[in-house]
């Protein structure tokens, strides 16, 4: 069987943020107030001209190749190496990085002094050794989320990143770099939703998660997601971004998780449930209900945040506000664009999403973001890598290199583009490790506050 046919069909985190236009049309039919930010001119251009970061992508599965394709569109990226221990994966990625060295050994990436940044997109259980070695070799590191499948590995990664302030480390929590989310955050934090009531998120897609290969050993490797010893299952591999987003918006950490998991459809002997539900309790008492399934695609993926005055729906890179009839008038919503959602009307949450502005700008069309959160996350990673390296270089050129404490202090003040840091990546990973534990046990699991602290 052709290897190309075995690439976990449809498993693509880009599904998280499909094209905005089709979604907008669907939502318009249902009617909601849409919340989305204006396209950032600098971001649309892919960052500052002249910035070029030489980067290697390690792990060239479906998502790794999506990363290579995204980097190919970023002017600030120069993909100089692609690496996977499986030669066919390297070959499949090569057309998107025609000038990159094609490597099968990670050591070759480490030894290449030309490479300043590494993107790790291997299976989760392989992250720790690769990240620690890359940081030790002086490379900036972007590591996909979740960071690890065990607390020890997550802690080792975060501590290695903490010990390397002269390097950028970014967990792949791409929503934390999404301008749409940053546009929403102050709105949410301002209390515009009233008192927090609850959150809800889902990820639905009919797909098997199983890949085939004529080589049994390779097949076992490919199906690491179905191995309970290596995988956190749906709640870890898929929900990490959505649960972290709730953590970010609530500005609280999960304190307990109740989970259930069943194999309802893909009864092929797998031990990882194809359908999971979880109830995540935050330290402010608010609960996020989450469900994911590989057995049905209806309604895909989205997140809802409910307050006593309003609710917000986030789908891909758009958002809508739904007000309660007794909610106080915010003022601006009078002029905001509105879209119908079945029996509800949603207010578009968007910079420039005002009818009054349209009159001024003669109906100038504002398209939602066409770039994905992954694009913005990688763009910010490259810019941060560039700026941190530059700041360290300037500091050493100014004061010498015999005062690491002063250098660390200086680097801590360098302005960074929005991105999750090592602690946020660690904490998001802890949350889903415990959620996976709850799903496995089918019961409530407490998450002690001290577990979120790095030791």
């Amino acid at each position: 069987m052709n290897e190309n046919q075995n690439i976990l069909p449809g498993f693509n985190r880009r599904d998280f943020i499909k094209s905005g236009s089709s979604l907008a049309a669907a939502m318009a039919m249902m009617g909601g107030v849409r919340l989305f930010a204006q396209t950032n001119a600098a971001s649309a251009a892919g960052g500052k001209p002249g910035i070029k970061v030489k980067v290697a992508v390690v792990g060239l599965g479906t998502w790794g190749r999506e990363i290579v394709r995204t980097l190919a569109r970023l002017p600030s990226a120069q993909v100089v190496a692609i690496c996977d221990k499986y030669p066919a994966s390297v070959r499949r990625a090569a057309p998107d990085a025609p000038d990159a060295a094609q490597l099968e050994k990670f050591e070759a990436v480490l030894e290449n002094k030309e490479i300043s940044a590494v993107v790790i997109a291997t299976p989760t259980h392989q992250h720790k050794d690769l990240v620690v070695a890359a940081l030790k070799a002086g490379k900036h590191v972007y590591c996909e989320a979740p960071l690890a499948h065990t607390v020890d590995d997550a802690r080792a990664i975060a501590n290695a990143a903490k010990a390397a302030p002269q390097l950028a480390f970014q967990p792949g929590l791409q929503l934390r770099s999404d301008p749409q989310r940053h546009f929403l955050l102050p709105f949410i934090r301002s209390g515009a939703l009233g008192t927090w009531v609850a959150g809800r998120a889902q990820w639905h897609k009919k797909m098997s998660w199983r890949a085939n290969s004529p080589n049994p050993e390779r097949e076992k490797e490919l199906n690491w997601r179905l191995d309970p010893a290596l995988s956190l299952g749906l709640i870890g591999e898929l929900s990490c971004h959505q649960i972290d987003q709730a953590t970010w918006f609530f500005n609280e950490k999960p304190k307990s998780v109740f989970g259930l998991g069943k194999t309802t459809f893909w009864r092929d002997g797998r031990e990882i449930p194809d359908t999971v539900q979880a109830l995540i309790e935050y330290s402010n008492g608010v609960q996020l209900s989450y469900d994911a399934t590989l057995a049905n695609s209806f309604d895909a993926d989205y997140e809802m945040f409910y307050g006593s005055d309003s609710a917000i729906m986030l789908r891909e890179s758009s958002a809508w506000l739904f007000k309660e009839v007794d909610a106080p008038l915010l003022g601006w919503e009078v002029y905001a664009k509105k879209e119908n959602f079945y029996k509800e009307t949603g207010i578009v949450l968007k910079v420039g999403g005002s009818k009054a502005l349209d009159q001024v700008q003669q109906q100038q069309v504002q398209e939602p973001y066409t770039n994905t959160p992954l694009y913005f996350a990688l763009e910010n990673f490259l810019r941060n890598s560039f700026d941190i390296a530059g700041a360290a270089e300037d500091f050493k050129a100014t004061f010498g290199d015999d005062d690491p404490a002063a250098l660390k202090d200086h680097l801590s003040k360098v302005h960074r583009q929005p991105a999750a840091d090592f602690l946020e990546g660690y904490q998001a990973t802890i949350a889903v490790i415990k959620a996976a534990e709850a799903v496995r046990a089918g019961e409530r699991v407490q998450i002690p506050a001290e577990l979120y602290e790095l030791t």
Partner: protein, 221 residues
């Protein structure tokens, strides 16, 4: 033999002279704790950029006040010095110190031709003590002359500076001067991202606190 003696004597004199000069001058190197700020205007609001890196050195003669309350006589001071600021260490900030805009930073770097001229240089040529310190906590007031190189363009700059010797051996050199961007052939930015509607004013004010101390320094390049 006579020639050898003569050469040896000359060498000794030369060496002695060097020792005398070295004994009379103190070299101060850049220390963390510096700050340089540029303040400007626009037709929308005032703006400011700030950086924390000022490198270089200062070689001062015996009359330079190195300790709080040290005696000093008004007049010209034997001094030689160079300072530099990495352009990309400067960043736009809000009035409260929070970062303002990476886009504005990039515009600034572009206007200052940072790729070709990654550092702002200042070469001190003259320092004249005008007023000694009133007490141990007060600065000495000087007039300074030197040349400032921004975006590869050199201009002579004269400005008052205050010099405050600190108890830990460091010296804080502070100054403020008004300049024009166009004097350095920098066209005041009118960012395209705002449809060119925002126009910055030509005059800017440079404010700095440069910390130096008796330690090894990194030479300006």
């Amino acid at each position: 033999m006579k020639l050898r003696t003569l050469i040896a004597a000359n060498l000794m004199i030369a060496l002695a002279g060097t020792v005398v000069v070295q004994a009379q001058t103190t070299r101060l190197g850049a220390k963390p704790g510096s700050k340089m700020r540029i303040e400007g205007t626009s037709n929308v609001h005032d703006w400011q950029v700030e950086g924390k890196l000022i490198g270089g050195y200062l070689e001062v003669g015996k009359d330079f006040p190195l300790e709080p309350g040290a005696k000093a006589t008004p007049g010209k001071i034997e001094v030689k010095g160079e300072a530099f600021v990495p352009v990309r260490s400067m960043a736009s900030i809000e009035k409260d110190g929070r970062s303002y805009s990476t886009k504005m930073d990039d515009i600034m770097y572009e206007k200052m031709l940072a790729t070709a001229n990654p550092k702002i240089f200042y070469r001190l040529s003259e320092l004249t003590l005008k007023e000694t310190a009133k007490d141990k906590d007060s600065p000495y007031l000087f007039d300074s002359k030197g040349e400032l190189v921004v975006a590869g363009i050199t201009n002579q700059v004269a400005m008052p500076v205050s010099i405050l010797p600190l108890a830990d051996g460091k010296v804080k050199i502070s100054g403020k001067t008004d300049l024009k961007m166009t004097d350095f052939k920098i066209e005041p930015p009118a960012p395209k991202i705002a449809l060119g509607l925002i126009k910055t004013g030509d005059p800017v004010t440079i404010i700095f606190d440069w910390m130096v101390g008796p330690a090894k320094s990194v030479a300006a390049k």
